[in-house]
């Protein structure tokens, strides 16, 4: 048999070319741009000025802080909720499993912008949520205009959108846990709670890690929800790094600085992921 070594290359060529043109080139070029600034419409190198500027840029630091607050609060809540839901939906006594699974997963197929707009309408001052609150005798909550509640609204919206998605991942993993473990625990007299914390969670550790990493990356890049719900307001209280990047590039035409922000996000994602692997302690 004749050995045609070039054939595989021929087959992977389209993917490689497309990847190079649409991914690799922009990635490399934005790296170059992160060291440049526009002088009268022409990009010129200015060393590490952009990076220096970042650390004294109060708006960037605020965006960074906001993003981390969202990350620290939203991701654990969502992962825990997803775990609980997955566990309930995996229960052998539950009826209409299919219906519930679809219901919880459905938010994950809606478009980011569409659901954000719906949330912004529901959370308006005279929106449906405040009307319900008021009819129950509570006061109206300034969901989108108060610094605290605006962040809470974001957490609420993102959790609604992504919880079902993580739940499905956990559900799939749950079905791979051998029943014997639970049977043995039953014989030893372990409660359901004990089983959840001592069997389910340890068995799901790699999957939880996977979800946590994906959610972390997602949160660091968060854009659509704050853009639609609050436009980063009030007074930058919900501005995320992703939004600041967009504003810098497309509203203020500062593409060099925007690229710098993009690379800082990359570095952050890398660091966060490293620590998550470290903490989860899997050597694989």
């Amino acid at each position: 048999m004749k050995n045609k070594a070039y054939v595989p290359y021929f087959f992977i060529a389209p993917a490689v070319i497309l990847f190079s043109v649409f991914m690799l080139y922009p990635i490399l070029y934005s790296f170059v741009m992160s060291f440049q600034t526009s002088v009268g419409g022409i990009m010129e190198f200015n060393g590490i000025e952009n990076y220096k500027r970042l650390f004294s840029d109060e708006i960037f630091l605020k965006a960074l802080k906001n993003t981390f607050i969202l990350l620290i609060i939203q991701v654990p809540i969502m992962i825990f909720l997803a775990l609980v839901l997955a566990n309930l939906l995996n229960s052998s006594i539950l009826k209409f499993k299919g219906l519930f699974r679809v219901t919880f997963f459905l938010p994950a197929v809606t478009s980011l912008v569409a659901y954000s707009i719906i949330f912004s309408i529901m959370l308006m001052n005279d929106g449906v949520i405040n009307q319900v609150l008021m009819s129950l005798g509570f006061g109206a909550i300034p969901w989108l205009s108060d610094p605290f509640w605006a962040k809470a609204s974001l957490v609420l919206a993102i959790t609604w959108r992504w919880c079902g998605y993580n739940m499905i991942i956990f559900l799939a993993a749950l079905q791979n846990i051998p029943d014997q473990l639970y049977e043995a625990a039953d014989i030893d007299g372990a409660s359901r709670f004990r089983q959840f914390f001592s069997i389910t969670i340890p068995q799901l550790k790699p999957v939880i890690l996977f979800s946590a990493v994906l959610s972390t990356i997602g949160t660091l890049q968060l854009f659509d929800e704050p853009y639609t719900l609050t436009e980063g307001g009030p007074s930058d209280e919900t501005l995320t790094i992703g939004m600041y990047l967009y504003q810098t590039g497309f509203r203020y035409f500062d593409f060099g600085y925007a690229s710098t922000i993009a690379y800082v996000i990359v570095i952050l994602v890398a660091i966060m992921t490293y620590f998550q692997f470290k903490i989860a302690g899997d050597s694989e």
């Binding site: 389209p14 526009s38 419409g41 308006m124 009030p234 509203r251």
Partner: protein, 429 residues
């Protein structure tokens, strides 16, 4: 099976790639030219009607108007310009407050209209419009619509509350009137997206002859007049006369459902009212913004837009010829006003019948005359290339103010933050 799917996908991707790369043709062999313009909203209709008239004399020129949203035009334009003029149209609509930003960031990417001969039209446009469309004494944009501000009010609401519009001369009068209206009818005085946009603040600044920046390009947010405007807004907020709405749609729905007594906005808003609130025809009227002191200036401007030509366009001359016709032909501008509610800055049309007649929708008021008179007194706002940054900071100051901060402090903080971001000086008072 999977493999075939992948190959199929690859082919589709390659086909798309090829389609994206197929270059645009220059003017074709038979001398026909197809111009491409980017615009949004009602401007699209105005352009299409104009080309139909233009084609009677110039059958070889066609126009394709791509109706993309306002912000999408800016995003696509910024991307194309940053890439050195790739994938751009021949003609693009740009709002006046953005022109300076584009010209400073991309000085060589727009056609020099002075060179093409547009300067001879200067006298038919108001001064502030000429200044807005120029950069270093050179004209780069053709003035189109302007946005003289009016307070669009509901006659029935004012009548029900027994408030006489003509008695409202100052903002203090209006505050008082608004309070009476709120008490008697439960209707708010004005709609405002309180935490995300600052149009009323900007209109007040225009009226006071100040802006985020001054003529020298210094940050002017600490100017006592600017503080005065913000304080007035705070009074309206504290009296609960502002209906907090969500974006543009929020303003429009408040207009339709009658929960606000007045909507302060540029003249173009008359088109929105006529279009969206048809069943309240005749119930509307317009008065000028109240002055800050007795007998003070009541003229202001917000918005307005102009057309720019792309320097790298291969059909620059044809684009210039058509757009010169579009912006200076009275017939076209009257259509723009009557059918699309776009108020021309072209002064030669102001004494035509279309402008001097009663407007039935607005209770037989001669509203166009009102605006045409007002436009003469509009002062030039200094947007500069850092307009977007100024807007961002002003908006944040407004949000902090409504969340309880003192107006002067909020503006001082905004000015300092803006100084960091733009390397401009802050005026000391």
């Amino acid at each position: 099976m999977k493999k075939w799917n992948k190959i199929g996908f690859m082919f589709i991707a390659l086909a798309l790639l090829a389609a994206g790369c197929s270059g645009e043709e220059e003017s074709s062999a038979d001398g026909k030219v197809e111009l491409v313009a980017w615009a949004w909203n009602v401007n699209v209709g105005a352009l299409e009607d104009a080309i139909a008239i233009y084609q009677e004399e110039h059958p070889d020129v066609a126009l394709k108007v791509e109706d993309i949203g306002r912000l999408d035009v800016y995003d696509k334009l910024a991307t194309g310009l940053a890439a050195g003029g790739v994938g751009l149209p021949d003609i693009v609509l740009v709002e006046d407050d953005r022109i300076a930003g584009y010209l400073e960031a991309f000085p060589n990417e727009f056609a020099n209209l002075s060179e093409l001969g547009f300067d001879k039209h200067k006298e038919v446009f108001p001064d502030f419009k000429n200044e807005l469309t120029s950069h270093n004494e050179t004209s780069y944009a053709m003035p189109f619509d302007a946005g003289p501000v009016g307070m669009f009010y509901r006659r029935s609401v004012f009548n029900a509350a027994g408030v006489d519009v003509n008695a409202i001369q100052t903002w203090d009068d209006f505050l008082e009137a608004g309070t009476i209206i709120k008490e008697k009818t439960g209707v708010y005085a004005m709609p405002l997206d309180m935490y995300k946009d600052d149009p009323i603040f900007r209109m007040m600044l225009s009226q006071l002859g100040v802006f985020y920046y001054d003529e020298a390009g210094n940050i002017d947010l600490t100017n006592p007049k600017v503080v005065q405007a913000m304080e007035m807004l705070k009074q309206f907020g504290e009296a609960e006369l502002l209906k907090d709405v969500d974006g543009w749609n929020g303003i429009v729905s408040a207009t339709i459902n009658g929960t606000v007594a007045t909507i302060p906005f540029g003249v173009a808003y008359s088109g929105t009212i006529m279009d969206q609130a048809k069943d309240s025809a005749g119930d509307w009227g317009v008065f000028l913004m109240p002055a800050f002191e007795e007998g003070g200036n009541r003229a202001a401007n917000i918005g307005g837009s102009s057309f720019m030509l792309v320097e790298s366009s291969k059909k620059k001359q044809a684009a210039y010829d058509f757009m010169e016709f579009f912006t200076t032909d009275p017939e076209v501008q009257i259509i723009a006003l009557e059918d699309y509610g776009l108020f021309p800055s072209l002064s030669t049309v102001y004494d035509t019948e279309a402008f001097t007649s009663d407007v039935q929708f607005f209770g037989e008021q001669k509203i166009w005359t009102l605006f045409a008179e007002e436009i003469k007194d509009v002062k030039m706002p200094y947007y500069t290339k850092d307009y977007s940054l100024g807007l961002n900071e002003a908006m944040k100051a407004q949000a902090s103010m409504f969340n309880g901060e003192d107006p002067a402090t909020a503006l001082q903080n905004a000015a300092e933050s803006l100084a960091d971001r733009t390397a401009r000086d802050i005026n000391q008072y």
